[in-house]
C-alpha cells in the first residue's frame, strides 16, 4: 500500500520519516488480512449442505472438478462467498466512515440505526406488495437508511464524541424495528423466512443482488477513500478543519451519504447483518493505531470481510451446514460485535462525575398545588384507564355490562370476555408500574436520564431466561417462568454491572455495555427460537415484542408480588436515590455506603423488571419514559417521582395494550410495539431538549 505524500509540503521529508514504519505496518497488516481472508474463503467454499467436500472443491479450483461440484460452487457457494465479501467490505468501510464523521468509536450502521432504517424500507416495500426490481429496493433501502442517519446525527448534536449518539441510535433502532415487526404481523405472509432474514442471512441463491450492488459498493468505497485526506482533516475537529480550509459540512454530508449507500447495499443483499460495521473499524484501529483514512478505510473493509466470513465459517463448522441453514449469520456477527462494543466501552475513559443529574431537576419541587392537581388527575386516570381497557377490545363493552359483570349478572359470553380481559389489563398495568419503578432506580444510581432496564440488558436477560426454560420444559408454570426470568435478569445484569465496574461505576459505560449486552441477548433469543421452534413465529413475536395475549391471573401474580414488596422498599429509600442522583462524591461525604446501597437499588430494579418480563415479554422504553415524564411533572425528588412514575408506567402500558387489542381487531398488535412507537417520539423529544 503506497501512502505517497503529494504536494509541496516543506515538512515533506519529516512526514516521510515518521510515516515509513506505519506504511510498513499497514502493508504487513493488509497482507496478513488478505491471507486470512483467502484461508477463510477456502474453508467457506468447502462448507455447504451438499456432498461436494473439500477435495472436490480443491479439484474444481484447479480446473479438474466434476460438473456437480462446479454447479454447487456456481449456484450456491460462490454466491454466498461473494455476498459475504461484499457485505464485509461495505459494512467495514461504512463503519469506519461513520466513526470518523461522528468522531465516535461507537458509531456504526447499527448504532446509528442506518441498518434498521434500510431494513424497514425493504420490508415496507414487500409488505405493501410493491414488487419492484432490485435497484429500486436498494434505492428505498438507501432512503430509509439516510433518513435514519440524518435523524440520529441531527439529534445527537453532530460530531460530539459522547455516547449520546449510541443512545439516540439505539432508540431510533428500537422504533424502526418495532414498526418493521408490526408490518410483518399485519402482512403476515409466511413470516418464517422474513423472521430469519431480519437478522441477516447469507443463504443467497444467485448473484443478482450481489451483482447489482457491487458497482455501488465499489464506487462508494473508492469515493470514500478518495476523501481520505479530508476525513483526516475532519478528525482534527470542526474548528481546526475549517481553519485548514476544509468545507466541514460538505465533507460530512458527502461521507454520510456514501456510508449510507454502502449500508443500504449490504441490507439489500442479505438483510441487516449486525455489528460488522461497529467491530471492523475498532479492530482495525487496534491493528493500525495511527492509520490515516486512506489506510483505515480499506483495511476496515478487509477486517469486515474477516468478521462476516469468520462468523459464517464458525457457525457452519459448529452446527453443521444443514442445521446452520436456519441460523442467520447476523446473529453471530451481532454477538461478536457486542463483545467488541463491551471491550471498547471498558477501554474508554470514564466521563467521571461531570454528568449533570437527570435532566438537572433534582431538588426542583413543584408547588404543592401542582402536586395535588397531578395526583388527582393520575388517580382519576388510574381509575378510568383500566375500566376503558376492560371496555375496549375486539368486542366493545359498555359500563352497564361491567356493572353487571361485577355483580355476576352477565351472560356467559360476556362474562368470559371480561374474565379473560381482566388478566390482560392487570398484566399491562402491573408490568408498566414495575418497569417504571425499576427505571427510577436505575436512572438514579446510574445518574443517567437515558438509562432503563431494557437498554441495560435486564429485560433481554429476563426474556432469555424465560424462553430458555420454555424451550427445555414446554408446559411450565408461571412461577417457574418468572423464576427463570429472574435468574436470566440477574445473571445478565451482574454481567453488565461487573463489566461496567472499573474502580467505580461510570454511568455512560454502564449504558453502552448494557446496549451491547441487550443486542447480544436479543440475538440469542432469536437463535434459540429459530433453532428450537422454527415454525412458531407467534412465540418469537410474543417474547421479542411484549404482549399480553393469553395472560392468566396466575402469570400476573409474580409481578404483583414484586410490586407490592419492592415499591414501598424503593420508596423508603427515596432519599438515598436522591443522593445517588446528585453525583459520585456527595453521598460518600454524607456517609452513605454508596456501593452497597447502589447494589440494593439495582437488585430491586432488576427483580421488578424481570417479573414484568415474565408477565408481558420484553418491553422497552417504559422504564425510561415514565420516570422522565414523572420528573418533568413533579420535580426530581424520588419521594414524589417513584409513585408518579409508577402510575404513569401503568397508564402507558395499559393504554398501549388497549390500543393494540382494539385498533386492528380481531387481529392484535403486541403492547410492546405500541409502546416503542409511542415511546420513541417522546424519547427523541427528550434528547432534542437535552442536546448539547
Amino acid at each position: 500500500m503506497t501512502t505517497e505524500v503529494r504536494g509541496t509540503s516543506p515538512r515533506r521529508g519529516l512526514v516521510e520519516t515518521v510515516r515509513t514504519p506505519q506504511t510498513i505496518r499497514t502493508a504487513v497488516v493488509s497482507a496478513g488480512l488478505v491471507v486470512l481472508i483467502a484461508v477463510l474463503a477456502g474453508l467457506h467454499l468447502t462448507q455447504g449442505t451438499s456432498t461436494s467436500g473439500p477435495l472436490d472443491v480443491v479439484k474444481a479450483i484447479f480446473g479438474q472438478g466434476d460438473a456437480q461440484t462446479l454447479a454447487v460452487l456456481e449456484g450456491s457457494r460462490v454466491p454466498r462467498l461473494l455476498a459475504a465479501l461484499l457485505l464485509g467490505i461495505a459494512l467495514g468501510v461504512a463503519g469506519a466512515g461513520l466513526q470518523s464523521v461522528a468522531r465516535n468509536p461507537l458509531a456504526s450502521p447499527d448504532t446509528l440505526a442506518v441498518n434498521a432504517g434500510a431494513h424497514f424500507a425493504v420490508v415496507a416495500i414487500s409488505a405493501f406488495g410493491l414488487s419492484l426490481p432490485l435497484v429500486p429496493v436498494g434505492g428505498a433501502a438507501f432512503a430509509g437508511g439516510l433518513a435514519a442517519a440524518v435523524v440520529v446525527l441531527g439529534l445527537a448534536g453532530g460530531g460530539s464524541a459522547s455516547p449520546r449518539l449510541v443512545l439516540v441510535g439505539s432508540a431510533v433502532l428500537l422504533a424502526l424495528q418495532s414498526v418493521t415487526i408490526l408490518l410483518l404481523l399485519l402482512f403476515e405472509q409466511e413470516t418464517n423466512g422474513l423472521f430469519a432474514w431480519g437478522s441477516g442471512s447469507l443463504t443467497v441463491a444467485d448473484l443478482r443482488a450481489t451483482g447489482q450492488m457491487t458497482p455501488i459498493v465499489v464506487l462508494a468505497v473508492v469515493a470514500l477513500i478518495a476523501m481520505g485526506r479530508r476525513l483526516d482533516v475532519l478528525a482534527l475537529g470542526d474548528d481546526n478543519a475549517t481553519v485548514l480550509g476544509l468545507r466541514v459540512r460538505r465533507t460530512r454530508v458527502t461521507a454520510v451519504v456514501l456510508t449510507v449507500a454502502l449500508t443500504a447495499a449490504a441490507v439489500t443483499v442479505a438483510g441487516p447483518v449486525g455489528f460488522v460495521g461497529l467491530s471492523a473499524p475498532v479492530i482495525t484501529r487496534l491493528l493500525l493505531p495511527i492509520a490515516k483514512h486512506r489506510a483505515l478505510l480499506p483495511v476496515s473493509g478487509l477486517v469486515g470481510v474477516v468478521t462476516v466470513l469468520g462468523a459464517d465459517v464458525v457457525l457452519r463448522a459448529i452446527m453443521g451446514s444443514a442445521a446452520a441453514v436456519r441460523v442467520p449469520t447476523g446473529v453471530v456477527t451481532t454477538i461478536v460485535g457486542a463483545v467488541v462494543m463491551v471491550w471498547l466501552a471498558r477501554r474508554g475513559r470514564g466521563s467521571g462525575s461531570r454528568r449533570p443529574a437527570p435532566a438537572g431537576r433534582v431538588g426542583v419541587a413543584g408547588s404543592a398545588r401542582r402536586l395535588v392537581t397531578i395526583s388527582v388527575v393520575l388517580v382519576a386516570l388510574l381509575a378510568v384507564v383500566p375500566v376503558v381497557g376492560l371496555m375496549l377490545g375486539d368486542r366493545m363493552v359498555l359500563l352497564g355490562d361491567l356493572a353487571n359483570w361485577v355483580d355476576g349478572n352477565t351472560g356467559t359470553a360476556l362474562t368470559f370476555v371480561l374474565d379473560q380481559r381482566l388478566p390482560r389489563v392487570l398484566a399491562a398495568l402491573l408490568a408498566g408500574a414495575a418497569l417504571a419503578v425499576s427505571g427510577c432506580g436505575i436512572q438514579s444510581v446510574s445518574r443517567n436520564p437515558l438509562a432503563e432496564p431494557g437498554l441495560l440488558g435486564i429485560t433481554a436477560g429476563a426474556g432469555l431466561g424465560a424462553i430458555t426454560l420454555i424451550t427445555i420444559v414446554p408446559a411450565v408454570g408461571a412461577w417457574s417462568i418468572a423464576g427463570a426470568a429472574g435468574v436470566g435478569a440477574t445473571v445478565v445484569f451482574a454481567l453488565v454491572y461487573g463489566l461496567a465496574w472499573r474502580s467505580g461505576l461510570d454511568s455512560d459505560r454502564l449504558v453502552i455495555i448494557g446496549i451491547a449486552v441487550w443486542s447480544a441477548g436479543m440475538a440469542l433469543i432469536t437463535l434459540l427460537i429459530v433453532v428450537s421452534d422454527p415454525w412458531n413465529s407467534a412465540k418469537a413475536l410474543t417474547w421479542l415484542s411484549g404482549s399480553t395475549y393469553g395472560r392468566t391471573l396466575e402469570q400476573v401474580a409474580p409481578v404483583a408480588l414484586a410490586l407490592i414488596v419492592l415499591t414501598p422498599l424503593s420508596w423508603i429509600k427515596h432519599r438515598e436515590l436522591d443522593l445517588h442522583a446528585l453525583d459520585e462524591d456527595t453521598p460518600r461525604v454524607l456517609g452513605l455506603r454508596v456501593e452497597r446501597s447502589r447494589l440494593v437499588v439495582l437488585a430491586a430494579s432488576g427483580i421488578l423488571a424481570a417479573t414484568a418480563v415474565s408477565a408481558i415479554g420484553v418491553v422497552v422504553f417504559v422504564g425510561l419514559v415514565a420516570p422522565h415524564l414523572a420528573r418533568s411533572l413533579v420535580g426530581g425528588r424520588h419521594g414524589r417521582v417513584i409513585p408518579v412514575a409508577a402510575a404513569l408506567g401503568a397508564l402507558l402500558v395499559s393504554v398501549a395494550d388497549t390500543l393494540g387489542r382494539t385498533v386492528i381487531a380481531p387481529a392484535q398488535i403486541p403492547a410492546g410495539l405500541v409502546i416503542a412507537m409511542v415511546g420513541t417520539p417522546y424519547f427523541v423529544l427528550v434528547l432534542w431538549r437535552t442536546r448539547p
Partner: protein, 325 residues
C-alpha cells in the same frame, strides 16, 4: 404540563354517558339446538372427554385444516382464523362469505370467538398455549392432533372422525374417508399401471426474501408425503425433519442430495413461486435431476398441505395426473 381541565372534564363526562348501558340482551338463549340427537361425548387428542349437549352446529375452527374438515362435513363454521388467508391457501373446500374472521391463526381474538356464541371451538394442538384452558372456561374445546409425522394418515382419520362426531356427521365422515381411500387406491393402481410405482419424489415449498431462498422439504411422515406414498411414490428427502409436521429446511445446495434421475418435484406455492422466480437461473437447481428431466409440478394454488380428506384428494389427484401423464 397544564391540562385544559374543563375540556377534559366535559369530554370525560360525555364519554361516560355514552358508555353507559349494556350490550347484551339478557337471557339470550345460548343454544337453541333442542336437538333431535342427544348429547355427544368425544375424547379429543389430549385424551380429554368433551361433552356437548348436542352435536355442534355453531363451530369456530382456529386452524385451516380443521376449518376445512368442518366445512367438508356440511357444517359451515361460524368463525375461522385468518379467513382471507384460507381463501388463498386452501381451496379444497371453500368457506362462504358468512364465515367470520376471528383474527390471526397464531393469536386469534378470544373476544371474536365467544362473540360468535359457538357450541364448540376446534383447535390444533400446540405447545405452551394458554388459550385452551382460557376458552374452555366458556365453551367446550376440542383439540385435534393436527399433525404427527410418525402416523399422519391414522392421525388424519382420528382427527376427522373426532370432528365428525363433534358435529354429528359420523356417517358422512366414514363416507368421505372411504372415498379418500378409494381415490388413493385408484391412484395407486393408475401409477402402477404406468409402471411408475416407487418413483422418488421431493415435495417442498419455499420463501424468497431479497435474494435469500429458503426451501422447506416435506420429509417422510408429513401429510402430503404420506399422500404421495399412498399412491405408490417414494419420498426422496432424507434430511432431518421435525417430529410433528415432518418439515425440514435447506438451501438450494442441500437439494443435491437428490441424485436419482427419476426424481419428481412437487411444490406448493400459493402466494409466491420461489422455484421459478428465485431458483430457475441457479446453476445447482438447473442440474437437479427433476429440472434436467423437466419433471416439476407446481401444485395448484390453494392445495393446502396440512388439510383434511378433501385436500388429500386434491393433492393425490394432481400427483397421479402428473405421474401418469
Amino acid at each position: 404540563m397544564r391540562l385544559p381541565t374543563p375540556a377534559v372534564l366535559v369530554a370525560a363526562t360525555a364519554l361516560l354517558l355514552s358508555a353507559c348501558g349494556t350490550t347484551e340482551n339478557t337471557a339470550a338463549a345460548p343454544s337453541e339446538s333442542a336437538a333431535a340427537s342427544g348429547p355427544v361425548t368425544v375424547t379429543d387428542s389430549r385424551g380429554k372427554a368433551v361433552t356437548l349437549k348436542a352435536p355442534a352446529k355453531r363451530v369456530v375452527a382456529l386452524e385451516w385444516g380443521e376449518a376445512e374438515m368442518v366445512a367438508s362435513l356440511g357444517v359451515m363454521p361460524v368463525g375461522a382464523a385468518d379467513v382471507a388467508g384460507y381463501h388463498v391457501w386452501d381451496k379444497a373446500v371453500p368457506l362462504t362469505a358468512e364465515v367470520k374472521d376471528v383474527g390471526k391463526r397464531n393469536e386469534p381474538s378470544v373476544d371474536a370467538i365467544v362473540g360468535l356464541n359457538p357450541d364448540v371451538v376446534i383447535m390444533a394442538e400446540e405447545r405452551d398455549s394458554t388459550l385452551v384452558p382460557q376458552i374452555e372456561k366458556y365453551v367446550p374445546v376440542v383439540v385435534t392432533k393436527s399433525s404427527d409425522a410418525s402416523r399422519n394418515f391414522d392421525r388424519l382419520r382420528e382427527d376427522f372422525k373426532l370432528i365428525a362426531k363433534t358435529v354429528g356427521k359420523e356417517a358422512d365422515a366414514e363416507k368421505q374417508l372411504s372415498e379418500m381411500d378409494a381415490e388413493l387406491a385408484e391412484g395407486k393402481k393408475a401409477v402402477e399401471a404406468k409402471g411408475a410405482a416407487g418413483t422418488p419424489f421431493l415435495m417442498a415449498d419455499g420463501y424468497l426474501e431479497g435474494s435469500t431462498v429458503s426451501i422447506r422439504p416435506f420429509g417422510k411422515g408429513s401429510l402430503v408425503s404420506d399422500t404421495a406414498e399412498a399412491v405408490g411414490l417414494k419420498n426422496a428427502w432424507t434430511g432431518k425433519v421435525d417430529p410433528q409436521w415432518g418439515l425440514g429446511q435447506t438451501d438450494v445446495e442441500g437439494l443435491t442430495a437428490l441424485t436419482d434421475p427419476k426424481t419428481v418435484l412437487f411444490y406448493s406455492a400459493s402466494e409466491e413461486d420461489v422455484f421459478t422466480t428465485g431458483l430457475a437461473q441457479n446453476a445447482v437447481y438447473q442440474r437437479l435431476p427433476f429440472v434436467v428431466s423437466k419433471k416439476i409440478h407446481k401444485l395448484e394454488t390453494g392445495t393446502w398441505t396440512f388439510g383434511g380428506p378433501k385436500s388429500i384428494i386434491m393433492t393425490a389427484d394432481q400427483i397421479v395426473k402428473a405421474i401418469t401423464a
